[in-house]
């Protein structure tokens, strides 16, 4: 009986019962089909109120939910060059220009400096909307300047990863951003400054194989896809279906590569608490958040 029964979550409605929902006003959870207003969804940190599904959000949203109030943008105004004059089905320069106008972003990462529960922090946050959050020269350079800023301000550095990996259109340059970001982390470590890596859905490829896995703490959002090779590639390699939950944050935690998983609603509080434990004891002003 059960071998043709749908066992995976997702489709619970018969197609004739399917209702069209106007864009913008309502949010329908892709996991459990729970419907809520977009405002409710945003107020709930873009997490489904019923099944806790964490929707993908960008740097603007993360900044708004992590910084106490406003932040100073670090390394703004950097955009991608086209060092290889790369053309696939589209010229890379056109792709960049179109993506910039479509997303309003400069590239796949933004860096902000501000306070989180009173603790000064630099936060770098990737944007999946920008060519799949792919890492090219701009991501590497902004990450590097973010680390420099943390060193200059003598504060913690947090990076929220969300990326398909390296950006193919910058080929060798993209690859070397893995080296560059790792090099910057050695400098941060020399200054004994905490580096917190937060892995969100999805974090794969060259980002996983460099700065995302190098945190003093590696933290993830629930159910985030985290891996080096993408699931499709792994499936092709082994020629079998992948086990349920393979490469999920819970799986990666179980295998020993994450310190903890945190619900987005608790992220600020939890990460701030971690940071306070890293900080020197003699700074009571940054510990005040503990009381609240």
């Amino acid at each position: 009986m059960s071998w043709f029964k749908r066992i995976k979550q997702g489709v619970t409605t018969k197609s004739k019962e399917k209702k069209e929902i106007p864009e913008g006003l309502w949010y329908k959870c892709p996991e459990c089909k729970n419907v809520m207003t977009s405002d409710e969804h945003a107020a709930n940190y873009w997490v489904c109120s019923k099944c806790e599904f964490h929707d993908r959000i960008g740097s603007a949203e993360y900044f708004s939910l992590l910084f106490d109030e406003g932040s100073e943008e670090v390394a703004a105004g950097l955009t991608s060059g086209d060092p290889l004059t790369f053309v696939d089905t589209k010229a890379y320069t056109d792709r960049i220009r179109n993506t910039i106008s479509k997303t309003g972003l400069e590239d796949a990462i933004r860096v902000g400096y501000g306070r989180m529960e009173g603790i000064p922090v630099v936060i770098a946050c990737m944007d999946f909307a920008f060519i799949g959050g792919s890492m090219g020269s701009v991501v590497g350079e902004k990450f590097a300047r973010g680390a420099d800023k943390a060193i200059k301000e003598n504060c913690a550095f947090i990076c929220i990863s969300k990326s398909g990996g390296a950006r193919m259109m910058e080929a060798g340059f993209s690859l070397m951003q893995m080296a560059k970001t790792s090099a910057k982390l050695t400098q941060l470590a020399d200054h004994q400054l905490p580096y917190i890596s937060i892995l969100t859905d999805p974090t794969t490829g060259g980002v996983t194989a460099s700065f995302a896995m190098l945190g003093d703490l590696n933290i993830a959002e629930p159910k985030a896809l985290i891996g080096f090779a993408g699931p499709r590639v792994v499936k092709e390699t082994i020629g079998k279906d992948l086990p349920e939950g393979f490469q999920s944050a819970e799986f990666v935690l179980e295998k020993g590569f994450l310190d903890y998983i945190v619900n987005r609603k608790e992220m600020k509080k939890t990460v701030a608490q971690s940071l306070r434990m890293f900080l020197p004891e003699e700074h009571p002003e940054v510990r005040e958040g503990e009381q609240s």
Binding site: L84, S137, F173, M176, I238
Partner: protein, 323 residues
């Protein structure tokens, strides 16, 4: 002489194959009939040399990718054996999970000095290719490599890595054991190694799997190798959604030694013997030896802190942005 029968010819080597077949025919008929054809054979042999030089002096990127994967191309163990004259000890295992056969390494004595050699190893025949997992290391391979580097650092011996991999292995267990973390850890730790590190791409330099042992004071590429973020085939399948654009992708990726050097992403190119490293593996190893010795001398004269500073500065300067 049955060299002709053993040699693998790449598609663009067809003219060389033809000439070699003619030589073989002449030899056979000369043997059978007793007629001296040595002059004709000598002429043809010269023609082979000229043709080889001509073809190899203008290889396009895709052809270089093919040469880099030539089944008779010398692999890491050939270089280690030749450079040390066999005076080396292979060291196994990552002290954690197992011994990865796709990654080999150990101390060896080259020109009177001890060097830690590490590299991916491909198999030399069908059975060995499987045994070596086609040069695709698992996390324990990268962790073994790091263990050996730390060992070299402890005893103040330089590290030489040979890079030759179609990529880090994308298998299920590799993911379970943290392929991403293993590579990331190597990038981080190699940046800070206090001993000189020379990395040489001797075949394929595919993506993170190559970079995982590729952080060095000097990163060099053999003439007919490639180094990039993805193979031309996979690039074609992802960007063009078809396997047919591998030649276009090979051109677009700027993955040859010349391109990578021009873009300052590697520090130098090591020339190969005429007709590629597979045509004269020992000669190739000697060319590599010369380069290693030259760089070891220069790097050895620099204080460790300064060497690390320069290494970090070099990798931090890579990238092109518009401000």
């Amino acid at each position: 002489m049955n060299q002709t029968a053993m040699t693998t010819y790449l598609d663009f080597e067809a003219p060389i194959k033809e000439l070699n077949e003619q030589i073989e025919k002449l030899r056979q008929s000369s043997e059978k009939t007793g007629v001296d054809m040595s002059k004709a054979i000598r002429d043809l042999e010269k023609a082979v040399r000229d043709k080889t030089r001509e073809i190899y002096s203008s290889l396009d990127p895709w052809q270089r990718v093919q040469v880099s994967r030539h089944p008779e191309r010398p692999y890491t163990l050939h270089y280690i054996n030749t450079l040390t004259g066999g005076v080396w000890q292979e060291l196994h295992g990552d002290r954690n999970v197992k011994d990865d056969k796709a990654m080999v390494g150990g101390f060896g004595v080259m020109n009177g000095r001890t060097v830690m050699f590490i590299g991916q190893q491909k198999g030399i025949n069908t059975k060995m290719r499987q045994y070596r997992n086609f040069g695709m290391a698992n996390p324990e391979g990268y962790r073994k490599a790091l263990r050996l580097m730390k060992l070299a650092e402890k005893f103040n011996k330089p590290v030489v890595t040979f890079i030759d991999t179609p990529g880090a292995f994308p298998g299920l267990e590799a993911e379970e054991r943290g392929q991403g973390e293993a590579i990331a850890r190597n990038l981080f730790e190699m940046m800070k190694l206090r001993v000189p590190v020379i990395c040489i791409i001797i075949g394929e330099g595919a993506s993170g799997g190559a970079l995982g042992i590729g952080i060095g004071d000097k990163v060099l590429m053999l003439e007919n190798t490639w180094y990039s973020v993805i193979s031309p085939e996979s690039c074609s399948s992802i960007l063009w959604r078809s396997w047919d654009q591998k030649i276009t992708a090979a051109n677009a990726l700027k993955l040859t030694a010349e391109d990578m050097h021009r873009n300052k992403l590697v520090d130098g190119i090591i020339r190969e013997p005429h007709g590629g490293a597979h045509a004269a593996p020992d000669e190739a190893a000697e060319l590599v030896r010369k380069e290693i010795l030259k760089h070891l001398d220069k790097l050895g004269a620099i204080e460790p802190e300064e060497r690390i500073r320069q290494r970090i500065r070099k990798f931090c300067s890579m990238g092109v942005v518009v401000e």
